[in-house]
Amino acid sequence: MGLTGLFAIGLATAVSAQDYQRPSVSGIGAVAQPEQIAAWDIDVRPDGLGLPVGKGTAEEGEELFADRCAQCHGDFGEGVDRWPVLTGGHDSLTEDRPEKTVGSYWPYSSTLFDYINRAMPYGDAKTLTPDEVYALSAYILAENEIVERDQELNQDNFAQIEMPNRANFFADDRAVSEAYTERCMSNCKAEAVNIVSAAPELDVTPEE
């Protein structure tokens, strides 16, 4: 009796290959509500889109920086141990050991706000208020002599800050500048081959 019952259900729901219609994807996922988007949409662009309402000065940021940032970055952004150096390095990009800091390298001020706001302080991310992020950004920019110490930064003027190294970035051009296509197979070296460096001499490979 049980078998007969199951069989009957099978027949009732059977769809032949002829009758089968491949459905399109629909009805999966929920519509994102405005408050959900607002809770997560924290990114800031160079044109200022995404900057929250708020304000701060370097003077206001100094103590906060000492409290929450200096442990890794140093009191003036000079960096502790191998943690990132945030200040100085101006005109060093063509030197043998360039110092790529917020002031010497970063092309947009918006990146500073976006990064501090999402990832700092290291180990306690996303805990700063907008005013605190403005103040910390102002302090780092002032230490790089890009803004004045008493200059208030806010949602209206932050994106207008001109970063010194802005013009020195350009889009990937490897397809043109590095279009290597020659596949030499024999007698490829005009001069004798010499070893100029060997890793064991440096002795910096981790041991077991």
Partner: protein, 413 residues
């Protein structure tokens, strides 16, 4: 009890000599004597619900370079390429690079939001995504900084450290083109911001053209759920592009009309040239290769005679077309055999049998891909970039085979 003690005693001695066994000089071993494992019963099927490698393979592990980064949290570990076969990286040996540590994410508390320039912003749970049409694809992922310690000269003596920021797995997930159709991405939405749920809030701008071409949201690798270190419960897959863009623990995709110039695409992952200018948006991982055997980890140690030279090649532009091997520091080249399968944006194994009679050699591999691009030398790369670009070092690499079979990482002129 006696049996157990005997077994433990044997295993301890075995572990101590595992290194010697690997080096092929285990003089004390006699495989033809009676063995513990031939007499006593082994473990049952219930002692190890999730399997692990043999204890004799305990040396095959990821390693890191402590001096490379300020701490081990925002850092990287390396895949032990010399010990791997074929082209698949086992999940437990996949290299990891985190900017805020390895996040442990509860999938019940995780969502993927897609919003911005769309008709209908949507939020997906992991279960939602798994209901969608999925695909499985083999791709390599390589950190843009792979080989970055070698720009000024040979530095790290091991292919785990010179090339181990690359792994290759089969990803399972949903094509992003499917998701973009569902939200109705608008025509002016030329860029997509991908953002992670981790403490770094990792964010990168990706062109919509690439998103629609072959990007995926993956929830599985090599047939099982992603490991936490690879972004469990979901990650972005951006085939052929630098690993940093493959945002792990992905929680948000925002469609916009310009790039965001996030920290990881301005301060980092830009390539400083000698004249002080810097390339940005250097996404593609160019054609690259490395000989994994012999290597500093796999020397030939007085074993003259037949050897297989073996290694891995890859290209973010497409498929590996071929690999040439030089034994004389790049003066003459011999085409190697591609083992196959050869797939686009996937690791490809190459081999070349060789009869070694103890001669000193400078051994190199040079890959080329189906776009015609040929892997360059250090001299070619340095001529364009100098030595401070950090990222995208795909220069032909040299191993120095010494007369006693030891192998050293060297650079040549």
């Amino acid at each position: 009890m006696t049996n157990a003690l005997n077994r433990r005693g044997f295993l301890a001695a075995g572990a101590a000599s595992a290194g010697a066994l690997a080096a092929g000089s285990a003089k004390a071993a006699n495989p033809f004597e009676p063995k513990e494992w031939g007499q006593f019963l082994g473990a049952g099927v219930d002692d190890e619900p999730y399997g692990t490698p043999s204890e004799y393979e305990a040396h095959v592990i990821r390693r890191n370079v402590p001096w490379l980064t300020a701490d081990s949290v925002s850092s990287i570990n390396f895949t032990p390429l010399a010990d791997l076969e074929g082209f698949i990286t086992p999940n437990g040996l996949h290299f990891e690079r985190h900017h805020g540590g390895r996040a442990i994410v509860d999938p019940a508390e995780h969502r993927l939001m897609i919003h911005g320039l769309v008709d209908k912003p949507l939020v997906f749970s992991l279960d939602d995504l798994k209901r969608l049409p999925s695909i499985s694809r083999f791709y390599f992922i390589e950190c843009a900084a792979n080989g970055g310690m070698e720009w000024r000269g040979a530095q790290l003596n091991g292919c785990q450290f010179t090339h181990g920021m690359v792994s290759c797995v089969q990803y399972t997930g949903v094509k992003l083109s499917t998701l973009m159709e569902m939200v109705g991405a608008k025509p002016n939405g030329k860029w997509v911001l991908a953002e992670g749920a981790d403490a770094a809030g990792m964010n990168r701008s990706i062109p919509m053209e690439k998103i629609m071409d072959d990007c995926m949201i993956a929830w599985a690798q090599n047939g099982e759920a992603l490991r936490p270190g690879q972004g469990y419960p979901m990650r972005l897959v951006v085939p052929g592009f630098e690993g940093n863009m493959w945002v792990k623990w992905i929680r948000r995709l925002e469609i916009g009309d310009m790039p965001w110039f996030a920290r990881e695409e301005t301060s980092k992952y830009t390539d400083l040239l000698e004249d002080g200018r810097a390339r940005m948006f250097t996404w593609v991982q160019d054609c690259n290769s490395v000989i994994t055997r012999p290597s500093p980890e796999k020397p030939w140690l007085d074993r003259k005679g037949f050897h297989m030279i073996s290694g891995l090649a890859w290209s973010g532009r497409g498929s590996v077309k071929g690999v040439d091997i030089s034994l004389d520091g790049g003066n003459n080249w011999i085409p190697a055999d591609l083992e196959g399968p050869v797939m686009p944006k996937c690791l490809t194994r190459f081999n070349l049998p060789f009869d070694w009679q103890g001669q000193e050699m400078l051994i190199q591999s040079r890959a080329y891909d189906d776009t015609g691009y040929v892997q360059p030398t250090f001299a070619q790369n340095r001529a364009v970039r100098g030595v401070n670009s950090i990222y995208h070092n795909n220069s032909v690499h040299t191993w120095h085979i010494k007369p006693d079979g030891r192998v050293e990482n060297v650079q040549l002129v």
